[in-house]
Amino acid sequence: MEREQARPPSFNRRSLLQAMAASLALAGANGRRAEADERALPYVNAPEYVVPGKPKWYATSVRFAGYLQPVLGKSVAGRPVKLEGNDRHPATGGATDLFMQAALLGLYDPERSQVPLHLGQPATWAAFDTDVFRRTSEIDRAQGQGFRLLTGAVSSPTLLRQIADLQKRWARMRWHVAEPINEHERLEATRRVFGRPLQMLPDFSAPAAVVSLDDDFLGPGPRQAMQARAWSKRQPRLFVAEPTPSATGTRAGERLVVPSARLQMLAQAIARGVGVGEVDAPDLSPLEKKWVDASLGALGAGNGLVTVGAHYHWALHALVLLINERLGAFGTALRFTDPILAAPPDGADSLAVLVDDMKAGRVTTLLILEAEPLQATPAALDFRSALDKVAFSVHGGLYADATANACHWHVPVQHELESWSDGRAPDGTAAIVQPLIRPFLNVRSPHVVLDRWMDGNASDHDLVQASWRTGWTEALLAGFVADSAPAAVTPAVANRTVSLPEAPSSDGLVVEVRPDATLWDGRYAHNSWLQETPKPLIQATWGNVILVSPALARARGIENGDELSLRFGNRELLGAAWIMPGQEPHTLTIGLPDAFAFLDSWRQAGVRLEKTGKSRLIASTQPIQDMAEFDYVRTVESGEEAATRRKDDVSFYPQRKWDSPSWGMSIDLDRCIGCNACSVACMAENNVPVVGAELVAHGRQMHWLRIDHYTEGETDAPRHHFQPVPCMHCEQAPCEMGCPVNAAVHSPDGLNLQVYNRCIGTRTCSAYCPYKVRRFNWFEYTGHDPDSIRAMRNPDVTVRSRGVMEKCTYCIQRISGARIAAKIAGRPIHDGEVVTACQQACPTEAIVFGDITDPDSAVSERKASPRNYSLIEEANTRPRTTYLARVRK
C-alpha cells in the first residue's frame, strides 16, 4: 500500500481520462459536486460539449500572500495550460503579475510533494488520520491546551470558519499567522489615528500627483496588478524618494536618492508644507529641499497622494495619513475598508508569541498549514529549535522542504488549481477558487486536512460551498462574488498627535532588505520560471545579489561579481556584489530570502562590509546596462517627434503593399514597469524551456520576450528605463535573407515566421539579427522533461527540440485561432480579437497588438503617435514592433 502511494505521478491515458472526466463534471459549473467516475472508460459516444482541441476557460483565482489573484484558466483536454487575468474583475480588470502567471508551473512542478511523510519516510493518509485521531483525543482532554495552528495570511471565509470551528471545539487552542511581508505597520497607524485598524486602499488612478516615500507600489506584491493597472490609467506625476532603485522609482518624474533614515524628515517637511500642525522643521539638504518643494508644488495643485513603504514605522504612516487628510485624499485617492486579511489574535506579534510558547514547552501539537516558518522567518527567531520542543508537529504544504522535514508529519496539500477554496482579492472582493483539474497526486485540500482534524468527512467542495449559500454559480462563472468587497468607510481622525521615533541610526553602512522581485519572500524558490526570470533592475537570475552603490564600489574597489561578506553581530552573509546605479552611496540592498538568515529587521545600520577576494558567477541576462551614447530608449518632450528618420522610407525597391490584416505591435515605454509578467506569460504560452543558472550565465537563456534594463546619465542618479524586446518582425528581416533552408520566412500577414521543422541550426539568423531576439536550443531542453511538465504544455505551440532556432511568434497560435473563428463566421478579424500573451498579461497595458493596415485599430492609433519610433531604425529593418518614447516629465 505504501509503495503504491509513493509512486511518482505519471500521465497515462487512464489518468488523463480521469482528469477529463473531472473537467467534464465541472464544465457546467452548475453547483453540483465535481465527483468524477473513478473508472476509466473510453468514449463510446463522445460526451457533449467536449470538442477535442478546443480549450475551455474557467474563472478562478490563485493565492498570493493570503490574497486571491483573479485568473481565467485555460484548460485543454482537462489540463490547465495557461492562466490569464480576469478582465471582468473589479480590482485588476485583467491585469496580472508574474507570480500569477507562474502559478501554473506550481501545479505541475515535479518537485511537489506527492505523499504524506512520517519522520521523513513515505506514509499513507490512513496512517496520518489514525495518528491525528489519537492526537485529537488528547487535545480533547486538554480542551485544546497546547494545540496551535500556524497558517500564512488568511482571507478565506471558509478557512476562517473552520478556524472558528476549531476554537469552538477546543476553546484553548490558538491560531497564529506567519506572513513575513505584511501590512502590520499600516494597520497600526490606522488604529492609532482612527481608533481602529483599517485597510488603506490607495487608488492610483485618482490622484494627479503622487509622492512616494520609498513605497514601491508598482513593484512586486499582491497589489501590483491592481495598483499598476490603476496607475497606468492616469500616470500621475510621481515623486519618489528612496534609498535603492525600485520599479516605482523608475517611473518617477523626480527621483530623490536618500538614505531611508531621511524619509521621516522629508515627510515632516511635506507635512509642514501642506499645513499639518505641530511638526518640527527638519534640516534638509539642498537636493532634498528641491525635491520637497517640487513635490509640494505638485501636491499643492490639488488631488495629491502621499504614500510610505509598508515596512516603515507606523508613526511615519500616521504622519502621512494626516498629510493625506490635509490633501483631501480620503475617500478618493485613498480609501479605507475593514482589514481584508483576517487578523490573528496576537496581531503583528503572532509568530513571536508562538515561538515563545514553543520554547517554553507550552505547545504540544502544532499544525502548520501552507506556511514555511523555517525558511521565511528571521533566523534570530530560531523557529527550528523551538519546533524541536513540540511533541507532535504536522506540516501541510506543497513541498516537502525544510519545515516539512523538521516536523513529525508532512502532508502534501492541493494546489489552488486543483482544489476548491475561497478568499478575497487585494481590494476585498471575494472569490471562489474552483479546480481546473482533478488532483493527480495523492494530496488533500487544506480545508479537508482541517476538517479531518475535527473528525469531519466533508469534501473541499462541500466545505467551501457551505460558506456560499447564495450566488454560487454566478460567482463561479464570473470568478468573483459580485459586490462583495467590504464597504468603504470614511473614518474620522481621532488622534492628531504623532510623535515620530528617533531617526534610526545611520552609522556606517546601512543594509536595506527588500522583497525579492521574482521569489517574493522565497516561497517561489521552487518555481523555475520565476528563478529564471531576471530581477528587473539587476537582470540577475537564479539567486540574489548584494546591491552596492557606484560610489561605494569605487571607494572599496568592488566590481560586479566580487564576493562580499556582510557582518552584523556574529552573523555573516556572503553574496555577489552588483553595482547598482542610483543606489544611495552608503546603502546596501539584499533580497528577502537571503536576509532571513542574516537580519531580523527591514533595515540595519552598522553593518560591516568586506571583500572576500573570491568572485561569484552572476547568472545575468544583461551584463551591461549602461545605455551609453545610444538611443534605444528615447525620451521626448511632450508632443516632440521621437523618430529621427524620415517617415517615407527611401528605398531603391518599390514599397511592398501589405494586405489586411498585417500584424504589428506597439510598446509604450512610459508604461512599462519592468514587472516581467509578460515574460513569464510568454514562457507559459509558448512552452519556453528553462535552462538553469549555468546556461543563463553563459548567455543561453531562452526567453522569447526579454525586458532590457538601461540606465541613462550619471551613475549616481541615473534615469532607469525598461524596454521589453520581443521579435521585431522586421519587414526587411536580415534573418530571412540569411537562412539557407527557408526556415525563416515571411508570412503574407506580415509575420516573420520560424519554421522549426526546416531549421537545421546554422544560426545565421541569429548572427544577422540586430536585436538578438532569437534563441537557440543548444541542447535537448525539452525531450527529457518529466511527464507533469509535458502535461502543462500548450498543445497549440510546437515544442522545440535540440538544434533549432526559436523566437517570438507574436503568438501565432492565437492569430490562427482568431482567423479560423473569423473565417467560420465569414467576417474579418476584429480589432482586439487577437490578444498576445504578453499583451494580456501586462498590468499597465503597455503592449498593444493588432492590424497595422487598419488605420482605426488600437495599434495604428498608437503608431500614429509622435512618440512612435523603431528600435535601431538605422539598421533599416523596418520592424513591426515599435516603441512609444518616454515623455520627459
Binding site: 546596462q625 546556461l695 553563459h698 548567455g699 524586446v725 540569411g738 541569429s766 536550443n777 535540440r802
Partner: protein, 451 residues
C-alpha cells in the same frame, strides 16, 4: 633561371628520388614520430565530434549573441590557407612558371586537406548536423529548395565546387607519377594500389595530349575559384547587417588574407619537406625566395585591407562601426586584434631581405607567425564583431570551451594525418613536371650555346 630547375643529375635520378620515397620511405622512424601524434589528434577529433553530436552544439562556448564563433573562424581559416595551393599550382601553371613544378604537388595536397578540414566545420557546426543535406537542391517531399539569397547557400556551392575541382586537379596532376610508382613497385600491394589509381597510364603521346588538355582546363577553372570562393566566404559575414562585418572591403580583403596565410603555410611545408626528405636539390633556396616574396606581397595586400577598413570606419563615422572598432582596439578581445596585426605584419617585414628569405629556419618562423596571426584575425573578425553588436543589452562574453579547442586540435589532426599519409605513400613532388622543366632548360641552354 639556372637554379630553378633542380640540380639533379639526370631524369632517372629525379624519378628515383621522388618515387622511392613512396615505395621505400627513407626515415620511417621520424615519420612514425610525427604520425603517432597526428593520430592522437585525430582521436581528439573523433571524440570531440562524438561528444558534439551526442549532446549538441551547447558543448561549445557559443551563446547568443556569439552564435557563430570558433568553428566559423576556423572554417574561414582552413579554407583560406587552402587557396595558396591552387594559386601556386594552377595560376603559375597557366602563367608557365616552371619553378612551380617543385612545389605544386604538396601545395595542392595541402589545399585539398585544408578544404576538407574547412568543409567539415560548417557541417559539425549545425544544430542538427544529420540534416546537412537540406542545404543541397535536391527533389524532396517538402518541395523546398535552398534559399538562394542566403550566403550560406552560396557557400555550400562554393565549397563543394572548390573541393571537387581541387580533388580533380590534384588527382589529374598525380596520375603520371602514380604510373611511375606502379612501374617501379616491387611489392604486390604497391603494384595493385598504384596500378588501380594510375588508371592504366602508359605515357603514350595521346595520353599526354589528353592529360595536358584536362590539366590546363581544370587549372583554368580552379584559378577564378580562388577569388570567388573566398569572396563568397567573406559574404557570410559581410551580408549580415552587423557593424564590423557589413563592409565592401571584405571580399578582396579576405582573398588577400587567404592567399597570405596559404603562402605562409606552403613556405613552412616546403622548408620541412626539403629537410625531412632530403629534397634540397629539388626544392632549392630559390624556391624559398620566391615563396617568401609571394608571402610578403600578399601580406602587404592584407595590411592594406586592415588600413582600408580602419579608414572606412573613421571616415564613415557611424557610431556602431566606431563602437566595433573600439571593441577591437581596446576591448576584452583586443589581444586578437593586436596579435593579428603584430604577428601578421611585423616579422613579415624581415622578408624584404634576401638573406632572410633564403634562410629556411627564419622563413619557417615567419611563416608560422603569419599563420597564427591570420588565425587570430579570423577569430577577431568573428568574436569582436558579435560579442558586442547593436544592442547593449545583448552584449555577452565568449569563452571557447574545452570541446571547441579539442575539435580544433582534432581538425589539425585530420590535416596532419592526411598530409603525413600523403607524404608517406604518394609522390610529394611532381617528378614528371620537374623533368619537363629540366628538359626545357636543357633545350634552352642548347639554343643559347648554339647562338
Amino acid at each position: 633561371m639556372s637554379d630553378i630547375a633542380p640540380s639533379a643529375r639526370d631524369f632517372r635520378t629525379v624519378t628515383d628520388e621522388i618515387v622511392d620515397i613512396s615505395l621505400d620511405y627513407p626515415d620511417r622512424r621520424a615519420w612514425w614520430m610525427c604520425f603517432i601524434p597526428a593520430l592522437l589528434l585525430l582521436l581528439s577529433f573523433l571524440v570531440s565530434v562524438t561528444v558534439l553530436f551526442w549532446y549538441g552544439v551547447g558543448v561549445w562556448g557559443n551563446n547568443i549573441p556569439m552564435g557563430w564563433a570558433l568553428a566559423i573562424s576556423n572554417y574561414i581559416f582552413f579554407l583560406g590557407i587552402g587557396h595558396a595551393g591552387t594559386l601556386i599550382s594552377a595560376l603559375l601553371l597557366l602563367l608557365v612558371q616552371h619553378w612551380r613544378n617543385s612545389l605544386n604537388r604538396f601545395a595542392e595536397a595541402m589545399t585539398l586537406f585544408a578544404v576538407i578540414c574547412g568543409a567539415l566545420y560548417p557541417l559539425v557546426h549545425l544544430g542538427r548536423p544529420w540534416l546537412f543535406y537540406w542545404m543541397a537542391p535536391y527533389p524532396n517531399t517538402m518541395t523546398v529548395w535552398p534559399q538562394f539569397k542566403s550566403p550560406l547557400t552560396w557557400d555550400f556551392f562554393a565549397v563543394l565546387t572548390y573541393l571537387i575541382v581541387s580533388i580533380l586537379f590534384w588527382y589529374i596532376g598525380i596520375v603520371p607519377d602514380l604510373a611511375s610508382a606502379r612501374d617501379r613497385a616491387t611489392r604486390r600491394r604497391y603494384q595493385v594500389f598504384f596500378g588501380l589509381f594510375a588508371l592504366g597510364w602508359r605515357g603514350s603521346a595521346r595520353h599526354w595530349a589528353r592529360w595536358r588538355q584536362s590539366y590546363r582546363l581544370t587549372a583554368a577553372i580552379a584559378v577564378p575559384l580562388v577569388v570567388s570562393v573566398h569572396s563568397e566566404i567573406s559574404m557570410l559575414l559581410a551580408a549580415g547587417p552587423i557593424a564590423g562585418w557589413n563592409s565592401t572591403v571584405f571580399p578582396p580583403y579576405f582573398v588577400a588574407g587567404a592567399a597570405f596565410s596559404g603562402f605562409a603555410v606552403v613556405s613552412m611545408i616546403a622548408v620541412v619537406l626539403r629537410h625531412a626528405l632530403g629534397l634540397r636539390n629539388l626544392v632549392t633556396s630559390r624556391h624559398l625566395d620566391l615563396l617568401a616574396k609571394l608571402t610578403l606581397l600578399c601580406g602587404m595586400m592584407t595590411a592594406y585591407g586592415y588600413w582600408a577598413e580602419t579608414f572606412d570606419t573613421l571616415y564613415g563615422n557611424d557610431p556602431q562601426e566606431l563602437e566595433t572598432m573600439r571593441d577591437r582596439l581596446v576591448g576584452v578581445y583586443a589581444w586578437s586584434y593586436w596579435g593579428a596585426v603584430f604577428l601578421n605584419f611585423v616579422p613579415l617585414q624581415l622578408l624584404w631581405w634576401h638573406r632572410v628569405r633564403v634562410n629556411p629556419a627564419l622563413l619557417f618562423l615567419i611563416g608560422l607567425s603569419c599563420v597564427i596571426g591570420m588565425w587570430m584575425e579570423r577569430y577577431m573578425l568573428l568574436v569582436t564583431t558579435l560579442y558586442r553588436d547593436w544592442l547593449v543589452s545583448s552584449w555577452q562574453r565568449y569563452h571557447p570551451s574545452i570541446w571547441d579547442w579539442s575539435l580544433f586540435a582534432g581538425m589539425l589532426g585530420v590535416f596532419f594525418t592526411l598530409f603525413l599519409l600523403f607524404v608517406r605513400f604518394l609522390p610529394v613532388i611532381s617528378a614528371f613536371e620537374i623533368k619537363e622543366a629540366m628538359f626545357e632548360e636543357k633545350q634552352e641552354r642548347k639554343e643559347t650555346g648554339r647562338a
